[in-house]
């Protein structure tokens, strides 16, 4: 706790303004990650986990205006309010990205070798020849067979798992300190998912990088992450060390999520345990706790004011729930 975290996000709010509508996909979320650690950000589709990580780094589709408030500090540098050319200097060099769908993340008409090597040229000031050599090393590093031949191939000639390894090689090419992986295994076969996850975890530890793992797969979280942030409807519901949050979830939403995972001793043919109701639509302002309408423990206080994120009895775990934190606010 003595040194400053690599990435520290405080009270981040993101507003998206398109031609037709205004949305708030991220609403006052805070978290931090230290060097060499892996933080999992978990939430269902549309809970804002991707926007939260991409918007401060300028990775939004064109035509969308983002409005950021709060604070995002990377290595002590404030990212909010930074100009696009300055944020661009961080992308690829200090922060590497891995995307959900490797089938579309690579340029279909450029050779794989070039797509990796241009990173080394851009960020490590390498000559084209040195960069090609580095690309070869990277392809070996991510465990691809016949590396030299791969460099002259095109993306459509590789399988999904291999392409994701190439995307990882690209992310690593600039020697980043932080890796942001946006559902890196979602689009892959189940058997390949485990390989890619193991590779990512292994590289993260070997290269002593920090990693933000955006996912909705609790199995991925348990296998790879040190800490976890659970998102619900643009807000953080619970955060803390993975071993504590997964074993002893406190927030009713986290409990529901973990309870929904099928268990080995479930009788065959039994129904899945889902959470009742549907998540709120983005855009409508929410009074109080966003989860209250679906929550079996909800009390009157839940809908009155937005619950603050406060430490629970275990001070490492924070929960935004008035029921869990009952009596603590007064103390």
């Amino acid at each position: 706790m003595q040194n400053e975290p690599l990435l520290s996000v405080k009270n981040l709010t993101v507003d998206l303004l398109t031609a037709k509508s205004a949305l708030r996909p991220v609403d006052g979320v805070s978290y931090a990650i230290r060097q060499g650690q892996c933080l999992a950000i978990v939430g269902e589709s549309g809970s804002g986990k991707t926007v939260m990580n991409f918007a401060p780094l300028g990775l939004m589709p064109t035509g969308v205006t983002t409005n950021l408030s709060g604070s995002v500090r990377f290595e002590g540098q404030e990212l909010i309010g930074l100009s696009e050319p300055e944020v661009r200097k961080l992308r690829g060099k200090s922060i590497g990205f891995i995307f959900q769908d490797p089938m579309s993340a690579l340029n279909p008409v450029r050779r794989i070798g070039r797509q990796i090597a241009e990173m080394a040229e851009l960020h490590l000031n390498m000559s084209p020849r040195a960069a090609e050599a580095r690309a070869l090393d990277l392809v070996k590093l991510v465990g691809i067979s016949d590396p030299a031949a791969r460099l002259s191939q095109y993306p459509h000639e590789l399988s999904g798992g291999l392409r994701q390894r190439i995307v990882i090689a690209i992310a690593l090419a600039g020697e980043p300190k932080l890796l942001i992986a946006d559902e890196p295994t979602t689009a892959l076969d189940v058997t390949v998912q485990a390989q890619i996850l193991r590779l990512l975890k292994d590289l993260q530890q070997r290269l002593n990088m920090a990693m933000v793992l955006i996912t909705h797969d609790m199995g991925v979280v348990a296998g790879a992450a040190d800490n976890i942030v659970v998102m619900y409807a643009a807000r953080a519901a619970e955060c803390g060390p993975v071993d504590k949050v997964l074993v002893n979830p406190r927030h009713p939403y986290t409990r529901g999520l973990i309870n929904a995972i099928p268990r080995r001793d479930d009788p065959i043919g039994s129904e899945f345990r889902g959470l009742p109701g549907v998540p709120p639509t983005l855009g409508a302002p929410i009074q109080g706790c966003a989860f209250a309408p679906r929550c079996e423990f909800a009390v009157a206080a839940c809908t009155r004011a937005r619950p603050p994120m406060v430490p629970t009895a275990d001070s490492n775990v924070c929960v935004a729930c008035p029921v869990v934190n009952q009596g603590k606010a007064a103390a």
Binding site: G58, L59, P61, T62, P85, R88, K89, L90, R91, G92, K93, G96, F97, F99, D101, S104, A105, L106, N107, P108, V109, R110, E118, M119, L122, H123, Y154, H156, E157, V167, I170, A171, G174
Partner: protein, 311 residues
């Protein structure tokens, strides 16, 4: 690759044969009796007897199928017959005129390519800003102005008003500039939109997000990632435009007093000189088919996904 080329060549030959049938049918079914015209041209009084004699002489009385076989058989071996009007060898005329039209189309194609890429990138580099609006305005103007009017404007502006370039003749590069520009305006306008819209579409692909995450600037992404992706699309569109340039040549060559194929074709039509018209049509169609063949090969070379299907 070899398989692809041989297959496309076969298709082209079949297409060429069908095109020759269409050429012949079109010309034969045109109104007017050519024998009468020839008789008049020879200064003789076109009495029915003399007309009949002329018709017999040039083979008009043979069955249509025989006439086609005669003509096509000779054409394949490079003999397009004798012009009814001038009595000269059509093949020799074609050979002399082809280089002129070739100069026109080649120069115009290069200018249209450069101009359209410049205009398209101007728009893509500053989307929805002033340069984009200027580029779109120019494209609209260029695409909606008739070519004969563009030519007249060119002559008025550069030859009459500023007296920079000659307005007619085919004698050295300075006489080529105005016809080149005139022919290039319409394709450049159309192609600039292809470039602009293609780039915009490419820039919204998921791989552009990857490119952004690499730390590349928007300009670098446009040239490195988006441009290679629109190249096959651009080559296709360019091929169509170049193919259509033969039609533009018919308008532009007489305007600048160029004695190319377009001029020859027009003269042939005017005098119902069937031999010339047929020959020109066949040359134009061959050119069109050839351009399409080259386009297919070029697309094959620029798009690795298509290349793979055929390897």
């Amino acid at each position: 690759m070899v398989h692809f080329i041989s297959k496309r060549l076969q298709q082209s030959l079949i297409l060429l044969f069908l095109a020759s049938v269409v050429c012949f049918t079109l010309v034969v079914s045109a109104p007017g009796n050519v024998a009468v015209l020839i008789a008049e041209l020879r200064g003789a009084v076109a009495t029915p007897g003399y007309v009949e004699q002329v018709a017999e002489e040039i083979g008009l009385n043979k069955p249509l199928l025989m006439r086609y076989v005669d003509w096509f058989g000779d054409a394949v071996s490079g003999d397009f017959g004798i012009s009814y009007r001038t009595g000269q060898d059509v093949s020799a005329d074609l050979a002399a005129r082809m280089s002129i039209t070739g100069t026109l189309i080649a120069g115009s194609a290069i200018i249209a390519t450069l101009l359209s890429l410049a205009l398209g990138f101007l728009g893509a580099l500053w989307p929805y800003k002033l340069p984009d609006r200027v580029s779109r305005g120019l494209a609209l103007l260029g695409a909606s102005t008739p070519t004969f009017f563009v030519g007249a404007l060119m002559i008025y502006a550069f030859s009459v008003h500023f007296q920079l370039l000659p307005s007619f003749g085919f004698s050295g590069p300075e006489t080529w500039v105005l016809p080149w520009l005139t022919v290039a305006v319409l394709p450049a306008a159309v192609l600039s939109r292809v470039v602009r819209i293609g780039l915009e579409e490419a820039m919204s692909s998921p791989f552009v997000l990857t490119a952004k995450s690499k730390g590349l600037s928007r300009t670098a992404i446009l040239f490195r990632d988006a441009l290679p992706n629109i190249t096959p699309l651009f080559i296709n569109a360019l091929g169509t435009q170049v193919g259509l340039m033969t039609a533009t040549a018919i308008i532009v060559e007489p305007l600048f007093s160029w004695q190319g194929l377009g001029d020859y074709f027009l003269a042939g039509v005017r005098f119902r000189d069937f031999m010339v018209v047929q020959a020109c049509l066949l040359i134009f169609l061959t050119f069109f088919i050839l351009v399409n063949l080259i386009v297919d090969l070029a697309v094959l070379l620029t798009d690795p996904r298509i290349r793979r299907q055929w390897s």
